[in-house]
């Protein structure tokens, strides 16, 4: 099921699964795990291309996971199943065909922490899901220009691992947040605000975001590409922070 059709079950998710453990005073646990496909890029038009993980991350009582790597896709489910509370796993549609190896002795991953996927000194690229790979590509391109970008994979949008990205921004002092959700009221807005609240005095440049254009995702490939965050946009946004033209 894609996230687009989870809206039919929103009452069950929000009013029941999330609320019953709270309203029963903990007498009823709802150890529910929901896997949803999310995101755009497959040219399947507006109703099949939304990124609503930021919406769900608004809800207290839910854990919202966004695996991007092969090992996270493999092992986050295990951690989610062990959680006594409702968990939603958002799997980006463009990542289903990705192949990769993980260490044979790997048995689990944590489902609470963000990870630094690439260390850098000049600017932090904070993202999750499919945008992680666009950010990593952007970081490679930027390194050829002498800009050393750090890439943070959030991995979990709720609870948000604030500590990891605040420490990163304190090192690099510049930050671009990449989010396939719409910009207004997005998870990137939340991240930016937490940086403003807790790391303002570390900043050496304005906060920047690369988000989806605020429109239903178009069907036509070139229009869809223009609406979604792309590597080139990440590169120009980060470059403008580090080496303003």
């Amino acid at each position: 099921m894609t996230v687009n059709f989870s809206l039919l079950a929103l009452d069950q998710i929000l009013n029941n699964a999330v609320t019953i453990p709270h309203m029963s005073g903990g007498q009823f646990a709802i150890p529910l795990v929901i896997r949803m496909a999310t995101g755009g890029g497959r040219h399947v038009a507006a109703q099949h291309s939304r990124s609503l993980e930021g919406w769900y991350a608004h809800i207290p009582g839910l854990r919202v996971l966004t695996p991007a790597t092969v090992e996270d896709a493999r092992f986050m489910l295990k951690g989610a199943l062990a959680d006594p509370n409702p968990v939603i796993i958002f799997e980006h549609v463009m990542l289903y065909n990705m192949e990769g190896d993980f260490p044979s002795d790997m048995k689990e991953v944590d489902i609470a922490c963000a990870k630094v996927r690439r260390a850098g000194r000049d600017v932090s690229l904070i993202t999750y899901g499919d945008s992680l790979f666009k950010a990593l590509q952007a970081a490679d391109a930027l390194s050829s220009e002498g800009i050393d970008a750090e890439v943070i994979d959030l991995r979990t949008l709720r609870p948000l691992d604030t500590k990891t990205f605040l420490e990163s921004v304190a090192r690099t002092r510049r930050c671009v947040i990449i989010d396939e959700g719409w910009r207004s009221g997005s998870i990137s807005a939340e991240i930016g605000m937490r940086i403003a609240e807790e790391a303002l005095f570390e900043l050496d440049a304005p906060l920047r975001r690369v988000c989806a254009r605020e429109t239903p995702i178009p069907y036509a490939a070139h229009l869809e590409d223009a609406c979604l965050p792309q590597t080139e946009t990440i590169i120009t946004t980060a470059r403008e922070l580090v080496k303003p033209s």
Binding site: R173, L200, F201, E202, L203, D204, A205, P206, L241, P244
Partner: protein, 312 residues
């Protein structure tokens, strides 16, 4: 913290002349404040007992900050000036056009953009941000690298503000006030030729009998003439405030005076139309100190200026 000049944004407390428990009455000088124009004595406008000093000596605070509290003043906790103004207004009459907002103290275009990290670093290095001419950050902002470069270029940080006159600060204040005046006030120019033979003869006769200290300069006659003209033409005496002309019933003429130590101030000759009946020593008396009572520099309702030097 009162605004001791149109362009003042903040002031540094230099000295408290009263302490908590002291009885104060309206007109008492209670505190000395350091501004760009020098140390200025600030008087109080209420009677009462000083109950609490809120800002210690050495602290720099923005205009509008409550400096101290007075017990026994009407309205126990002194409300902010704005609050009084609002409360005193009758119910807002409808359909009256709101006065345009006051011009900002610093127009947005002039604001120096500094990143938070750069600002903190500059403060740690005791480096004045004004010394950094050009920022290389986003939108020309001053960023860390600019502060570090400026710090390595100028190893000696400027000394912290000390009591007394900072000439470069005064120059800055004069330049800012002069450019603002030229920028914001529509200018027009009138010239008139006047036969001064009678005035000159009078001055010579007047001075001939006087010891040097009592002699007057010709400029005093112009000041007197200006004051009398203002009495006849009150629409030239006052200021535009909040979009409306506020005429002044008193005639105080500001007069630019060079300081012996360098720099310039424009003290006002209070009630110039009455006080220059026998012209006083306004022409050549010079302030020896830069510490002035605040009304001295602030209350001018009109400014006279001697252009002779500019024409040479």
């Amino acid at each position: 913290m009162p605004a001791l000049g149109a362009d003042m944004e903040a002031g540094t407390l230099v000295e408290w002349l009263v302490k908590p428990g002291d009885r104060v009455k309206s007109g008492d000088v209670i505190v000395v404040v350091e501004t760009q124009k020098g140390a200025i004595e600030v008087e109080i406008f209420q009677d009462g007992v000083l109950s609490n000093i809120l800002v210690p000596v050495g602290e720099r605070v923005p205009v509008g900050t409550v400096l101290a509290q007075i017990a026994g003043a009407p309205g126990a906790a002194p409300p902010r000036a704005e609050a009084v103004a609002v409360a005193a207004k009758p119910a807002a009459p409808p359909l009256v056009e709101a006065p345009p907002p006051r011009p900002a103290v610093a127009p947005p275009g002039q604001r120096i953009k500094v990143t938070p990290a750069a600002r903190r670093r500059a403060a740690a290095l005791n480096l004045g941000l004004a010394t950094i001419l050009k920022g290389t950050g986003v939108e020309g902002s001053i960023r860390l690298a600019d502060v570090e470069a400026a710090a390595s270029g100028a190893k000696l940080p400027p000394p912290p503000a000390k009591r007394g006159l900072d000439l470069s600060e005064m120059r800055k204040a004069i330049a800012a006030a002069m450019s603002r005046s030229k920028r914001e006030i529509p200018h027009y120019y009138l010239t008139e030729t006047v036969d001064l033979q009678a005035a000159w003869s009078w001055i010579e006769r007047f001075n001939a009998e006087k010891p040097p200290i009592e002699r007057i300069l010709p400029a005093v006659l112009f000041l007197k003439a200006a004051a009398l003209a203002l009495r006849e033409q009150p629409q030239l005496n006052g200021a535009y405030e909040n979009g409306a002309f506020a005429p002044s019933s008193d005639i105080h003429i500001g007069w630019a005076v060079s300081l012996r130590s360098g720099g310039l101030i424009a003290p006002a000759i209070l009630d110039a139309d009455k006080n220059i009946a026998r012209p006083i020593d306004g022409g050549h008396a010079r302030p020896r100190r830069t510490r002035q009572a605040r009304e001295f520099t602030k209350l001018g309702t009109h400014v006279a200026h001697d252009h002779r030097h500019e024409r040479r």
